[in-house]
């Protein structure tokens, strides 16, 4: 299965700004069943892009714009292949809890077990866990997480505009409404309170039919919990589904604060307006150039061709030997 993804982000400023600096976390990851086939990113005004891989393996692009500008547009395009996904078992044995031990747990897991900026315990969350009967995990870890996902799905209405990108989970907990980011944070905080390493995934969802509550023209977020005998397993509490071939992963982190698609600063006194366009469509397998490149002129025979006059060529060979 191939997807073509286009993600456009546009900032408009009420007055000219300068010295914009920005980081971008949009490049789909290439691991497991997901393979990145191509990725292009461009900005307008044009800027020199730099990239690095952060400690969680996310590709981060960054750039700066010195000159004054009133608009900044980032256009990212990717082609991603989702391969065969092995089916998950119905349930695990109860011994799985005991496998969360120092022998199995590594650095990457420990960092996903503590409180982080958005995913942390609070009286409001504790109250929700009591009401929803989620204080203690029920059954093996996989069964408990599926129940947790279902519990969040049943307890909250999907509604955008209630919470903002920097809203703490208490906001959604109080309203019993929110968006994918809120549900992911709530699920992460609860799973971590059970001792399960859990991380935030930012990415894209291919919407099929009307069952999905999340919006088709936006980025998506869900969670991954670590199960000793299965590895990282995805859960999408917004749609009450286990991510399979419709979810495209872009970045992972402790919570949203680690992986915003764009993060930037600018200088100048101006209001900014942000517009985002996201599209995700199935596409045909991209044709690899190796497959259609035809040899137009075979290589000639072995006579060497010097690109410089022969005299000079020989002269250069007569270098002093030490």
């Amino acid at each position: 299965m191939f997807y073509s993804i286009r993600h456009i982000t546009q900032f408009r400023y009420s007055a000219p700004v300068r010295e914009s600096v920005m980081e971008i976390r949009m490049q789909p990851r290439s691991e497991g069943p997901q393979t990145l086939r191509s990725f292009q990113i461009s900005t307008n005004p044009r800027a020199q892009l730099y990239a690095y891989t952060d400690h969680l393996g996310n590709a981060v692009y960054h750039f700066n714009l010195l000159r004054e500008h009133e608009e900044l547009r980032i256009d990212a395009q990717a082609v991603v292949e989702i391969g065969l996904i092995s089916p998950l078992p119905e349930r695990l044995d109860d011994l799985e809890w005991g496998r969360y031990n120092n022998f199995n747990l590594h650095d990457d897991h420990f960092d996903m077990m503590g409180a982080s900026k958005f995913a942390r315990m609070s009286p409001e969350l504790a109250a929700f866990m009591r009401i929803a009967e989620l204080e203690k995990p029920q059954g093996d870890p996989l069964t408990a997480l599926v129940k947790l996902m279902r519990g969040i799905y049943d307890s909250f209405e999907y509604e955008s505009g209630i919470t903002e990108v920097h809203s703490p989970i208490e906001h959604a907990l109080g309203e019993r409404r929110g968006v994918c980011q809120d549900f992911a944070h709530i699920m992460i905080a609860i799973a971590r309170s059970w001792g399960i390493p859990t991380r935030y995934v930012s990415g894209y969802l291919y919407h099929k039919g009307a069952r999905d509550r999340s919006r088709a023209d936006a980025t998506h977020a869900w969670v991954e919990a670590w199960l000793p005998s299965l590895g990282w397993v995805g859960f999408d509490p917004t749609n009450n589904i286990m991510p399979r071939e419709r979810h495209v992963r872009a970045a992972v982190g402790r919570d949203y604060a680690d992986v915003p698609p764009t993060r930037g600063t600018f200088k100048g006194v101006a209001d900014s307006e942000l517009s985002i366009a996201v599209s995700l469509e199935p596409t045909a397998a991209p044709v690899r150039h190796e497959d259609f490149l035809k040899v137009a002129r075979p290589m000639s025979s072995a006579t060497p061709t010097y690109s410089m006059p022969e005299r000079l060529y020989h002269h250069q060979q007569q270098q002093q030997q030490q």
Partner: protein, 506 residues
């Protein structure tokens, strides 16, 4: 290229003489020591029997010949000199900042060559182990895997910078400038109270104190063979240069929070002494992953930044978004190796109260050596045996929350009421990981000129360690003194003063 640090080099005392020691003045009886109280703590100048210790003999002989009026005159000359040179620090109050001179004391504190040798070796060992520890927790985490240091302590620390993971730093030197606080215990041994691995300050006062006290007792100073410290700015410059991957035309800047910072004098002083730029965040910009400073003739590239602002404020793109002190994009330029930052980011994880308790173990773990300088005895409440001990001895101990500073979340056992102790015991049992306990420390006392006489005041010792391609410790230190009688608080923000520290050749 060494410049004269201060404009005035005239001796305050006029021609000075070294008196031959005869009938010495006795503490508590004779002037100028009539009000001097020798207590239980170790005294720097006097042995318990009231006789001056050998290194202080020449100073004592001189003091005994000077009238209190003359001492007072020289003390005032020192203070005048500080004021004229603008050697000030800023005290933050409710809504305004006031500049004051840091009280400087006329009487030097003396450290013998033998004592210094141990301090120097001990601190060198310590900074080596701390740098290895930082490299470890930002790469393989061997020390965590081996269970020497609990993981939760590192991952839970607000100073742990995940952004530093896997990032190489030049010479593996994370802490390039360190100021460790030592105290002398009742037995007279120096022990480490605290490591300051983020943005330690005070070195300018070390240099300024030397300049004035040397002139207050010129002849005593000359005869005693005091080791020089004036080359500190050059050593700092060499350390900063050693961080750059190339060694010609290295362009260095000191990044200051600005004129309202309490240590602004020091930032300006060091910049002037080293002949490098003094910049604020707004003076710098990052373009195409390279750091520049704005000058009147355009942009000038910066290769090494000695930053005197906290991690949190360094780069609003990566750390605190609301930081107006930092430079957006600085961290990515650092990551790319286009600029070096001293100290490296994330060093704070190694100087909190809990990690402090592990430093002796870290020295054994990384260097397979016994610590040369001991810690103040510290009980980690996360360890069951220690917790029991702490709960049984709450009336004798000081208990501190590891994540807090400045006296918050702290119980001073001997001064607390029974109810306070019981209340604190409950908190301790609920979250033992969060607490450490130490016995109340009796800092040593040293003669200090206060209120027109010489009295005993508690002091500590802060030497400054430089660590780049090699480790260097200038033979000197800032001796901080608690000016209030009986007080153990030496912080300059809380009425502390400072003294010149004479490290002797022999």
């Amino acid at each position: 290229m060494q410049q004269e640090a201060f404009a005035n080099t005239e001796d305050f005392g006029g021609p000075d003489i070294v008196a031959v020691s005869g009938n010495n003045a006795r503490p508590g009886i004779d002037p100028p020591y009539a009000r001097y109280e020798l207590g239980k703590p170790y005294d720097e100048m006097f042995a318990p029997d009231g006789r001056p210790r050998l290194p202080y003999a020449a100073l004592d002989a001189r003091l005994s010949t000077l009238s209190l009026e003359e001492l007072n005159r020289r003390q005032q000359a020192c203070e005048q000199s500080f004021l004229h040179q603008g050697i000030t620090f800023t005290v933050y109050s409710d809504n305004q900042a006031t500049e004051r001179i840091i009280p400087t004391d006329l009487l030097p504190r003396i450290v013998t060559a033998k004592e210094w040798d141990r301090i120097e070796r001990g601190l060198t060992q310590r900074i080596l182990a701390l740098n290895l520890f930082l490299r470890d927790i930002y790469s393989d985490g061997r020390v965590l895997k081996d269970g020497v240091v609990p993981r939760t302590m590192i991952y839970g620390s607000k100073h742990y910078r995940r952004e530093m993971r896997g990032l190489p730093v030049p010479h593996g030197a994370y802490v390039n400038i360190c100021g460790s606080d030592l105290v002398r215990n009742e037995a007279g041994d120096f022990v480490v109270l605290e490591d300051n691995l983020r943005v330690p300050s005070g070195v300018s006062y070390m240099l300024a104190n030397r300049d004035v006290v040397r002139r207050a007792f010129p002849a005593v100073f000359r005869t005693m063979g005091v080791r020089p410290i004036e080359h500190y700015p050059l050593e700092l410059l060499a350390t900063l240069r050693s961080l750059a991957p190339f060694h010609e035309d290295v362009s260095i800047a000191i990044l200051t929070p600005g004129v309202f910072n309490s240590a602004y004098f020091e930032h300006a002083f060091l910049a002037r002494q080293m002949g490098v730029e003094l910049v604020e965040g707004r003076d710098l910009l990052v373009n195409d992953n390279v750091v520049y400073t704005r000058t009147t003739s355009g942009l000038k590239r910066i290769d090494v930044i000695y930053r005197r602002i906290d991690d949190d404020f360094v780069d609003p793109l990566i750390f605190r978004e609301d930081s107006s002190l930092g430079v957006p994009g600085l961290f990515n330029a650092y990551r790319a190796g286009n600029v070096m930052i001293a100290n490296a980011l994330g060093t704070g994880v190694a100087d909190d109260k809990a990690v402090y308790a592990y430093v002796p173990r870290l020295i054994r773990y990384y260097l397979a050596e016994e610590p040369i300088l001991e810690n103040v005895e510290t009980f980690l409440c996360r360890e069951e045996k220690s917790l029991k001990h702490v709960l049984a001895n709450l009336d004798k101990l000081v208990v501190k929350a590891v994540g807090e500073s400045g006296g918050y979340g702290m119980l001073v056992g001997p001064h607390a009421s029974q109810a306070e102790r019981e209340d604190f015991a409950r908190k301790l049992k609920a979250d033992p990981d969060n607490y450490i306990a130490q016995p109340t420390i009796q800092l040593s006392t040293a003669p200090t000129f206060v209120g027109g006489g010489v009295e005993a005041r508690h002091v500590d010792l802060r030497p400054f360690i430089l660590h780049g391609s090699e480790t260097k410790i200038v033979p000197g230190a800032l001796t901080r003194v608690a000016l209030k009688r009986g007080s153990l608080v030496v912080n300059s923000s809380q009425g502390g003063g400072s003294k010149d520290t004479w490290v002797l050749n022999q």
